[in-house]
């Protein structure tokens, strides 16, 4: 108990001393209550580190929940919409979870560490919902967010750098696989996961190892042009790679105030994560009804003409407003202008021609631009490296 205290200040991650030292721009943001860099030295250059060398992103503020106990697998299977039994030990699965109304609460990754020992890694906090879900299950939930420090090490040279760090045969690790090592006498876990769509890994260590890990990575990776990246650069990469983000592309169902503002998996283009063969999961009956009745919205990836990002744009079909943009960026690798939009049904099918009503300003002069756009069927950036095993040498 203390007073004007660190208890209530923005927290710092276990990597903070190193992050601060490298943050040339001194440009900070607040992510999940932590002081985190928006950018280290140049957003554009940081972005290209992900695509052509290695970018390192401090993931520590992610929420991590350990799920253990005899019912851990059954517990998760009811929690998430996909079949958790298909995630093997030392494998990771991307998943979403819904409320009883079939509305998405959050997405995240499920790490299977042992037979009945899982870790959920989520963007939003989930203590309350996970606790409610334990009713009727012999399972314990532990909030490990502060006990596990993490770095995303992403990009074509990332495998090489991690190999130099002592991650033997890391190139053999399949996408969504997990490998365990020791680092300076403490456990180090690597998962071949990430938010960039590129070859990349996430490295998880106890907080005590954090500074040494950072130091060694940057020391060993220097010749492979390793660079720290901030949240702005990551944002570019995730949009290019087709990843959704809670609070940006959808609102967590439990925090919705206004009726109708939450979204179902179908409305977010995530039907591939819903497995109706499972007899029970949260939201199943509502989603079955929605499937029969039809959805209200469609998630669309738009290829927008021109080079003006369609941020916060209205989407029109003819004169009629049929949707709004949730995320948009000019994608430097794909050289494409991409936007994610929520489009009212029945519009927004793949191939649909729409118009983005874009407002942008130059020197305080605002321009309204009606940019034609087309609904595309897959993320614009697809790196074969992401899926290759063994991981290709850069």
């Amino acid at each position: 108990m203390s007073d004007i205290s660190r208890d209530t200040m923005l927290l710092t991650t276990p990597f903070h001393s190193r992050v601060e030292a490298m943050c040339d721009l001194n440009d900070w943001g607040n992510w999940m209550g932590y002081t985190t860099p928006n950018a280290y030295f140049d957003i554009e250059l940081e972005y290209f580190a992900i695509r052509s060398t290695t970018g390192v992103f401090d993931l520590s503020p992610m929420n991590k929940y350990r799920v253990r106990g005899p019912d851990a697998q059954r517990y998760l299977d009811r929690l998430i919409t996909r079949d958790v039994t298909k995630i093997g030990v030392n494998r990771v699965g991307y998943a979403i979870w819904c409320d009883d109304n079939g509305q998405v609460i959050d997405d995240g990754t499920i790490f299977r560490l042992e037979d009945q020992d899982y870790r959920i890694c989520s963007y939003q906090r989930a203590d309350d919902w996970l606790a409610w879900n334990t009713l009727g299950f012999d399972v314990t939930i532990e909030n490990e967010s502060e006990a596990v420090a993490g770095l995303a090490v992403q990009g074509p040279t990332s495998c090489t750098v991690l190999t130099l760090l002592g991650c033997t045969d890391i190139n053999q690790l399949k996408p969504f696989g997990i490998a365990h090592y020791t680092f300076e006498g403490r456990p180090l876990m690597v998962s071949r996961t990430g938010f960039t769509g590129d070859l990349g890994y996430e490295v998880w260590v106890p907080p005590e190892s954090a500074e040494a890990l950072w130091d060694q990575l940057f020391e060993l990776g220097r010749d492979y042009l390793i660079k720290p990246i901030g949240s702005h650069a990551l944002e570019l990469a995730r949009i290019e790679a087709g990843f959704l983000q809670a609070n940006v592309d959808f609102m967590p169902a439990e925090e919705i105030v206004r009726v109708g503002r939450s979204r179902s998996p179908f409305e977010l283009g995530l039907e591939w994560l819903v497995d109706f063969n499972k007899p029970l999961f949260n939201g199943r009956s509502a989603l079955l009804r929605e499937k029969a009745k039809g959805s209200r919205y469609r998630f669309a990836m738009l290829d927008v003409e021109g080079n003006k990002p369609a941020e916060h744009s209205f989407i029109l079909k003819g004169d009629k407003q049929v949707g709004t943009v949730t995320s948009a960026a000019w994608c430097p690798t794909a050289k494409a202008n991409i936007a994610y939009a929520q489009i009212e049904m029945p519009h927004g099918a793949v191939g649909d021609q729409l118009v983005a009503e874009i407002y942008y300003q130059r020197e305080l002069h605002w321009t309204r631009l009606l940019a034609p756009c087309k609904v595309i069927d897959a993320p614009i950036f697809k790196s074969p490296k992401r899926w290759q095993t063994p991981a290709p040498p850069h």
């Binding site: 007073d3 004007i4 209530t8 607040n30 209550g33 203590d127 309350d128 919705i256 206004r258 009726v259």
Partner: protein, 538 residues
């Protein structure tokens, strides 16, 4: 010369608001006030040299922004300063801080329970939904469900539709919310005693109910539905004390040509041929007007200043049955310096917020048990503030003014009137409560004004000292306020109207009743409306 177009009885904030809108429409209006000063319960008084007390109401949030802006209250000197934050001190020496910054709030809550800290977002969303449902109706006249008039039917339909839009399950949850106790409601979200207790306070303040009494979840909402600068649920201080609100309203009123007459104690509303014709004062003076608006509570209006023979029988009965329950008291204290509380650095900004000492629902419920038994709470729930930490005009530099709202204090002590000894006993229970948590508090007291329901009733004219001019239970809300059939500001006597907090949307320094009543009066006079509509809630 004593002839007016309209007379408003009582220069509280609603009377002044009502007068201002009538005057703005071109009527010749007089507002009569019994006391030598205006404001009613919205008042600041210097009862100890250099210290200004907001004797009764002490914080601002509910004051409708539409009215503030329309009557140009800032131009007339009103400044509402947001304070934000607060704390509940615990018996174990710790405290729970309520920070207005979301992240800071999260981490403080997480210090007590991570689950609760996370659940708070769900709680905030669900409670906001309820707030959004009710806010559009604050600046409107409630429809009468028993009426078949097109206007009532249309408004009812709209009202029903806004609820139907919620969908079956959310609608049922809404009904549950409106009928549940604040304790049960909070139990659906939180596990930590102090967190629940901190939030439950808003469900009982000014109300003769306990945290486990059904209906108190709505009272919580009543404290959440205001805003400061668009921050819904935020609270602020009026610079210079609450009297600043009454002063600004009076200036606005006067700027439209209105006249305020103090020391004018109304004895009776004069009714001629079934129509209001003016008022007679206790000192024999008479003022004539075809419109008489009462800003007194419904009991006083119909039982004290109206001749029963002028009223239908059912109205007398309804007025008698109208529930105004004295449930609270107030201490205003001049302090020689800043008190220090266990566990909290005095520099912490939480000190400028609302401070409490009840760290469990059980303690709050026991405080209510005392009220039920007809005595003041021995372990009282306090809503305590030090406005001089926010507003330098309230006390000399380095000194402080403390406002302590006390829940519960009964209207009568074990069935008899309050005595001075009772008042001392009440004061002692409050001072002891604070001293339990603040070692230097007692020595800092320079002056203490203690107000039991007896004093509040005598000075301000609030029946039983009830701050809301009538319990905020469902039987007295919306189209039931003050009673069914008379919720549209019209009394049964032609030309006589109600504009007090005893009418929709109820108590608190909101000014909406005064404005809504003016709109109805102007409609009856077939004059153009001067009252602004409510801001759209997005």
């Amino acid at each position: 010369m004593n002839q007016y177009d309209a007379i408003v009885i009582g220069a509280g904030h609603n009377g002044l608001t009502n007068g201002a809108y009538l005057a703005k429409a071109g009527l010749k209006v007089a507002v009569l006030e019994r006391n030598p000063y205006i404001g009613g319960a919205t008042v600041s008084r210097e009862l100890h040299k250099g210290w200004w007390y907001s004797n009764c109401s002490y914080v601002a949030s509910l004051l409708r922004p539409e009215i503030t802006r329309d009557l140009e209250l800032p131009r007339h000197g009103l400044q509402v300063v947001s304070f934000g934050g607060g704390a509940t001190f615990m018996r174990n020496g710790d405290y729970f801080g309520n920070y207005s910054d979301h992240d800071r709030h999260y981490r403080e809550m997480a210090r007590h329970s991570k689950r609760d800290a996370n659940a708070y977002d769900r709680y905030a969303a669900d409670t906001s939904l309820q707030t959004k449902l009710i806010r559009p109706y604050l600046m409107r006249t409630p429809p009468d469900p028993t009426s078949l008039k097109p206007r009532d039917l249309r408004d009812l339909l709209e009202f029903a539709r806004s609820f139907m839009d919620l969908g079956e399950e959310k609608l049922l949850d809404t009904i549950k919310f409106w009928t549940a106790s604040v304790g049960d409601y909070l139990n659906e979200y939180f596990e930590t005693d102090v967190i629940k207790a901190h939030m439950a306070g808003s469900g009982i303040i000014g109300t003769a109910l306990g945290v486990y009494s059904p209906g108190t979840a709505y009272v919580l909402l009543h404290h959440y539905m205001g805003d400061v600068d668009g921050n819904v649920g935020a609270w602020g201080f009026a610079r210079g004390g609450m009297g600043a609100i009454a002063n600004a309203l009076s200036k606005a009123f006067q700027s439209y040509g209105g006249e305020i007459i103090c020391d004018a104690n109304v004895d009776e509303v004069i009714v001629k041929n079934g129509r209001a014709a003016g008022v007679a004062l206790k000192d024999g003076r008479e003022y004539k007007a075809p419109i008489v608006v009462s800003n007194l509570d419904p009991k006083r209006t119909f039982l004290d200043i109206t001749n029963p023979s002028d009223l239908p029988k059912d109205v007398v009965k309804k007025a008698r049955n109208f529930k105004i329950r004295g449930s609270s008291g107030k201490l205003n204290i001049a302090l020689d310096g800043l008190p220090v509380f266990h566990g909290l650095d005095p520099r912490n900004r939480l000190m400028a917020g609302d401070l409490h000492f009840s760290d469990s629902l059980e303690r709050q419920e026991r405080a209510y048990d005392d009220w039920k038994a007809g005595t003041w709470s021995k372990d009282p729930y306090l809503d305590m503030m030090i406005p001089s930490l926010t507003d330098p005009t309230m006390a000399p530099p380095g000194k402080h003014m403390m406002s302590v709202f006390v829940q519960y204090a009964p209207p009568k002590v074990e069935g008899r009137e309050w005595t001075d000894e009772d008042k001392d006993g009440f004061e002692k229970s409050v001072i002891d409560q604070i001293s339990n948590y603040s070692p230097n508090f007692r020595d800092l007291i320079l002056h203490c004004e203690t107000r039991t329901p007896r004093e509040i009733e005598a000075e301000v004219g609030l029946t039983e000292g009830n701050i809301f001019m009538g319990e905020l239970t469902f039987d007295q809300l919306l189209f039931n306020r003050p009673f069914p059939g008379y919720a549209q500001y019209r009394s049964p006597i032609k030309g006589m109207y109600l504009c007090s907090s005893g009418t929709h949307p109820g108590g608190g320094v909101m000014a909406a009743p005064g404005a809504n009543a003016a709109r109805e009066i102007l409609a009856d006079l077939k004059r153009p409306n001067t009252v602004p509509g409510g801001y759209a809630d997005d």
